[in-house]
């Protein structure tokens, strides 16, 4: 499978780190080399959050993704900050409910998903991250289908079991979008 050098970026609280964790667990389950690196700042809530995830069949060098082949942008500042770092031929997924500006690059695939709107309309407020992950799976196919669900189960603790089906639904909606 192709190497994934993914950068996920948004506001704190949008579930950027969690989405990255699902991808990381997918790598773990499939026995691949992987790394998950969060950015961390002094604030607990509301600041910018981003997360680098690498999946590969070779040992991972720098876990800090500076030239992603996948960028998931969940707000406008994140898109503006990282749009020009994406590798030619890479993929940009963005939440078009929150980002209205166009992506002015010809050499990348751009997927505009109204993720927040889709989540809201389906009673899945706060799960725009998983809608985008569904789309990512559809576009990039970074793991097997059953792996994705197993990874989701790994990431949701038993005491929050009720969240599992909601996350599954969000992923399905993202895939269909």
């Amino acid at each position: 499978m192709k190497d994934l050098n993914m950068l996920l970026a948004g506001f704190g609280g949008q579930g950027v780190l969690f989405a990255g964790k699902v991808a990381a667990y997918a790598g773990l389950i499939e026995g691949r080399e992987l790394s998950w690196l969060p950015s961390y700042g002094p604030e607990m809530r509301g600041g910018t959050a981003n997360c680098s995830v690498c999946l590969s069949d070779e040992p991972i060098g720098s876990p800090l993704v500076t030239n992603p082949n996948v960028l998931i942008a969940m707000n406008r500042p994140s898109l503006e900050k990282f749009v020009n770092d994406v590798e030619p031929g890479g993929v940009i997924l963005l939440d078009s409910s929150l980002i209205e500006i166009p992506v002015e690059r010809e050499d990348v695939t751009v997927c505009r998903v109204p993720a927040s709107k889709i989540a809201e309309e389906n009673g899945l407020s706060g799960l725009a991250n998983m809608v985008l992950m569904g789309k990512l799976f559809e576009v990039v196919g970074f793991c097997k289908e059953e792996t994705l669900d197993a990874a989701l189960q790994k990431c949701i603790p038993a005491r929050k079991a009720a969240m599992l089906d909601l996350n599954r639904k969000a992923i399905a909606l993202g895939r269909a979008s």
Partner: protein
């Protein structure tokens, strides 16, 4: 083989210490190492161990001194500014021949500096952690798995040589998650500690754990004795990884987080047909002089890459005795160099 799990570096360090038989942890919160303390706070009570949040780094390291003097495996962890405070206790432990493990998840400095990853405490760890003539073992992991493996080794070697050992990590390694296999629980009893102040039970003369010697000749001979032990450590404990070194013209020397960036750069250089390699010191003290000396016989250029203004580069120059040019590339203050930048430096040297 045990199952692979996904763990944050900080948590893996903590679990590895527990597996190594450490049941006494004394700490103080500081970013970016706090997950380690939080993990200990969760696990230790269930194991009948001690997690104690001290009033300061000074108190924490001296609690470690007390526990080590009692003969148990003890650990503290911090990040750069806090490690400066621990210097006092570390010097006393070195002077009292006490084994213990200290973790430094480095951040930018000097002063309060920043909270992003850094490697600017190399000199502190390897040369100037406290007053007096002494060394401590310094291990530099570059993956979460290696963090786990080196914690176990640090406890073992600290006990064996009766000296403090440090894991010199950084904010990147502490915060990142990677798959790890946790080791089986260690057999701790292997290290007898007849010197411990554990209560003499009226069976032996009293033990004194002490670093005070008011007679210059007595102090000198103790220090000289300790330095003989350091020579044994230097002969037996140097560790380094060599990656594509055999036919390399340019060898990058880097440890910890920057070695990962360097590895990516070396791979990119090889894709371009450039003969680049990597030497990654795993022990910073003792410094892997032998590996560098051997490489210096055929390598044309060394490039040291650090997340600092250039600290380890001095040791690289000393190791190769200036027979081969050694240049330096670094970013500091919490900035992580990119593989592209390092590749650029390699290209300049070829």
């Amino acid at each position: 083989m045990a199952e692979k799990v996904l763990m944050k570096g900080n948590e893996a360090l903590a679990e590895a210490a527990i597996q190594a038989g450490c049941r006494h942890f004394f700490g103080y919160p500081i970013t970016p190492q706090t997950e380690l303390a939080a993990y200990m706070a969760k696990r230790m009570p269930k194991l009948g161990g001690t997690y104690l949040q001290a009033e300061s780094e000074l108190a924490a390291v001296n609690m470690v001194l007390g526990a080590a003097a009692a003969g148990v495996r003890a650990m503290t962890s911090s990040s750069s500014p806090g490690v400066s405070l621990k210097g006092e206790g570390i010097s006393y432990m070195a002077g009292s021949d006490l084994p213990a493990v200290i973790i430094n998840v480095q951040r930018g400095g000097p002063g309060l500096g920043g909270i992003q990853p850094s490697q600017a405490d190399y000199w502190q760890a390897t040369k100037a952690l406290g007053h007096g003539d002494f060394q401590i073992l310094v291990f530099a992991p570059s993956t979460v798995q290696e963090m786990v493996d080196l914690v176990a080794l640090a406890f073992d070697r600290a006990d064996e040589y009766r000296m403090p050992a440090m894991i010199l990590a950084d904010g990147m390694l502490g915060q990142m998650m990677e798959p790890v296999v946790l080791p089986e629980a260690h057999d701790v009893a292997a290290h007898e500690k007849p010197w411990a102040a554990s209560g003499h039970k009226n069976e032996r003369k009293h033990n004194i754990v002490n670093s005070l010697y008011l007679t210059p000749n007595a102090l000198e001979s103790l220090v000289v004795e300790r330095y003989k032990r350091y020579e044994i450590v230097k002969a037996n404990e140097q560790r380094a990884e060599e990656y594509l070194v055999d036919d390399a013209d340019v060898v990058v020397v880097a440890y910890g987080a920057s070695s990962r960036v360097a590895r990516s750069a070396v791979n990119k250089a090889r894709e371009k047909g450039l003969k680049a390699g990597l030497i990654r010191p795993i022990t910073l003290w003792p410094f892997p002089v032998d590996t560098l000396k051997k490489a210096a016989r055929h390598v044309k250029q060394f490039l040291t890459v650090e997340m600092s203004m250039g600290q380890m580069v001095d040791d690289v120059r000393l190791a190769v005795e200036c027979k081969v040019p050694v240049s330096f590339y670094g970013r500091t203050g919490g900035v992580i160099p990119t593989p592209k930048e390092v590749l650029g430096e390699i290209e300049k040297l070829v």
